[in-house]
């Protein structure tokens, strides 16, 4: 029988749960735990410069690997600083375990130093949370937390640990449970066969079908199955912002991202379809536009592991609750058994129509005659420079949409962005989390001069741990997406959407010990990219690229319209 202190049990249990890195920041309530961390080497700790970044690093790691990211912060401000990061992970269904210190249990409720009600604060943005009440429960709680975070529809789980649960001189028997038992938590293991059969029948009868795949496909690790289904049926496929990479971005059957800034053809395909197969997507308001006008002629099949996602915003005809991969397997098996095939003639004429829509080239943009670049061409250049194979994280705003539109992701887990919550400051720490776990891969953070300043302090962490991410800052000197809306809806009144007194980013990153390259003219970009991935490959490089501040993101859906109602440029509407 092995006797361990609470702090030691926590660290050991994390190790047994498969944790290699913890992203965190120490403080009073966690000192016993940090002492336990010091005395071992199996679990490595990364010291961030702000706790929000710890959560985003863990999140980036989780999105790239599919495994839960782990955050450790002290009570009070340490805990509250993670809230944005937890909410970001929650909205995008990302597995994460957050360990927050707490004041001594006998002080809870007394407004003690650095006390906050972390369970209360985080309750609406966690999948579940635990408070440790007996030190000997720690291993079981950790095992449960990882189980809950990573199964079903994944999400963040908080474990709040009062300091007196980790006392170094109080030792208990350590037992890590072999199997986690939770009588009230049983995520679905397979879809309903009858419903799957109905769905396949509907797909085989479809004349204008579309497959609309979201982040759930990537989370379930079922991109290969999606590809097989799309290719077998010869149906067009569109991806949500979260689903990019689940179907190859350069694939012939890919019609692009859909929704507010989706491609013309994707939105047209959706609007005119007669059967929509939605897979691991949640009919977000940034996808559907006005729900009353959404896909007026379509029968909708919806596969999702979370029953509450089904018929939440859009009523569906064939709901299937289950894991994406399992349901797709069953669909393929039914297609194999069936004597029927899709209506080849109808599908051919559907493709003819889709190709006509593609001819409109709604994603074209005009390059400036001057040397001032358009943001789109910078993204295209980075796509070429990285051979389309980088892990790309982004912040939030115009640069995010340009990256989603112009970087063609052929693999899943490569596009890492805060899709649901829209968290500025996410991209850089997320890139760090990815790079630490994939040191040989190219990791690029596409950001703007607004977003990057929300977590720029992490340049220091990158120096400490040698994390050579590449930061591509599309610098237009203003909060581009806010400015775009002000141009379109507020007669160009740029209320607080410009950035005065920007720092000299080059000198700033140099002060942090990294490489900065400023690009103000088109001709400078090729050399800058060559240096970034060539002679500075093992350094953090900050590319500060000046881009046209007048540029807008198009297409853009017209508010309260149907999916086909779009602005295609400043002057052109569907």
């Amino acid at each position: 029988m092995e006797l361990l202190s609470g702090g030691e049990m926590l660290v050991r249990a994390l190790h047994e749960s498969g944790v290699e890195y913890i992203y965190g920041y120490p403080g009073g309530s966690l000192l016993h735990v940090y002492d336990a961390l010091y005395k071992q080497s199996a679990v490595k700790h990364v010291l961030v410069r702000h706790e929000q970044a710890a959560a985003h690093m863990a999140d980036g790691y989780a999105r790239a690997t599919g495994k839960p990211g782990v955050v450790m912060v002290t009570s009070g401000p340490g805990a509250t600083n993670t809230i944005t990061g937890i909410a970001t992970a929650y909205t995008d269904s990302i597995p994460m375990v957050v360990i927050s210190g707490q004041v001594m249990s006998y002080l809870v409720g007394d407004d003690a130093f650095q006390e906050t009600d972390m369970l209360g604060l985080s309750r609406p943005i966690v999948k579940h949370s635990f408070a440790v009440r007996r030190p000997e429960d720690i291993p079981e709680i950790v095992a449960k937390a990882f189980h809950i975070a990573s199964t079903g529809r994944p999400g963040p789980v908080v474990i709040d640990i009062p300091k007196d649960m980790t006392m170094p001189n109080e030792r208990y028997e350590y037992v890590y449970p072999k199997k986690v038992k939770l009588r009230s938590y049983t995520p679905p293991q397979r879809g309903h066969s009858g419903q799957i059969k109905k769905a396949v029948e509907l797909l085989l009868k479809a004349k204008r079908p579309v497959i609309y795949a979201g982040g759930g496909v990537i989370i379930d690790g079922s991109s290969d199955k999606l590809r097989a289904l799309v290719d077998r049926l010869d149906f067009p496929c569109t991806n949500t912002l979260m689903g990019l990479g689940s179907y190859p971005g350069t694939g012939e059957r890919f019609v692009g991202m859909l929704g507010m800034h989706g491609t013309y053809e994707a939105n047209m395909v959706m609007h005119h379809s007669d059967v929509v197969l939605a897979i691991g997507a949640r009919f977000d308001d940034r996808v559907t536009n006005a729900t009353s006008k959404f896909c007026p002629d379509a029968k909708i099949i919806h596969i999702d592991i979370d029953p509450s996602c089904i018929s939440k915003t859009i009523i569906v005809d064939v709901p299937i609750v289950g894991p994406v991969g399992n349901v797709l397997d069953e669909m393929m098996a039914l297609l194999d058994e069936s004597n029927e095939v899709p209506d080849a003639e109808a599908i051919a004429s559907w493709w003819k129509q889709i190709n006509e829509w593609r001819q409109r080239h709604a994603m074209r943009y005009e390059k400036n005659d001057s040397q001032l670049m358009k943001p789109q061409e910078v993204i295209e250049a980075i796509w070429t420079a990285t051979k389309g194979d980088a892990y790309v994280t982004s912040d939030v705003g115009q640069h995010q949409m340009f990256a989603a539109q112009y970087y063609k992701f052929d693999k899943p887990n490569r596009w890492i962005n805060s899709g649901g919550l829209g968290t500025m400051g996410f991209g850089f720490p997320a890139a760090m989390g990815v790079k630490m776990n994939f040191p040989d891969e190219m990791v690029v953070c596409v950001t703007g001069e607004g977003s990057i300043q929300m977590n720029i302090q992490e340049l220091s962490t990158c120096l400490q741990y040698g994390i050579p991410v590449k930061i591509l800052c599309l610098n237009n000197g203003s909060l581009g997406m806010v400015r775009q809306w002000q141009d379109m809806n507020y007669e160009g009144r740029h209320s607080h959407s410009y950035m005065e007194s920007l720092p000299d980013f080059i000198r700033l990153v140099e002060a942090y010990g990294h490489v900065g390259i400023r690009v103000t003219e088109r001709d400078q970009l090729p050399q800058a990219l060559e240096d970034t991935f060539g002679k500075y490959n093992d350094r953090l490089v900050f590319l500060d690229v000046a881009v046209d501040p007048e540029e807008h993101v198009y297409p853009m859906q017209v508010p309260q319209g149907s999916m086909r109602d779009m602005w295609l440029s400043k002057t052109e509407r569907t």
């Binding site: 369970l119 209360g120 309750r123 609406p124 999948k127 579940h128 949370s129 408070a131 809950i148 939770l182 009588r183 009230s184 938590y185 979370d306 029953p307 509450s308 018929s311 939440k312 009523i315």
Partner: protein, 163 residues
Amino acid sequence: MRHIISILLENEPGALSRVVGLFAQRGYNIETLTVAPTEDKTLSRLTMTTTGDDRKIEQITKQLNKLIEVVKLVDLSEGPHIERELMLIKVKAVGAQRAEIKRTADIFRGQIVDVSASVYTIQLTGTSDKLEAFIEAIGAGCVLETVRTGVSGISRGEKILSL
């Protein structure tokens, strides 16, 4: 429409706040709420009444089911069921009113559980409608204080809500 949602909940600290928080967070309305441990001390039974169209109630039940501590859930109003609410009500009772209030309480099968020179405290059990009918019958003007437990409910017949 009014629904009675009955939940078996893990009897743990914080479980109730998750249920209540969910309603606040998603803009659902709780009309009544009552909760107490069951014969199995690890479980609480929680009954709440809420209103909404079918779609809203479906979302409410799905969201509640997602809470880890919610072990089982049933919408009692979907089938035959018994519902009861208990009310303690203090009324002004002086002069001729005293006899009249006593008679009304008898008609409603209420009991006078405390008496003072000018006040009756009456205990009444029944559906929410019945409790309201009683208040109407004695006249809101003589009511000094009311306290209601909120609705408790159980299915009729063989159907049970248990593990």
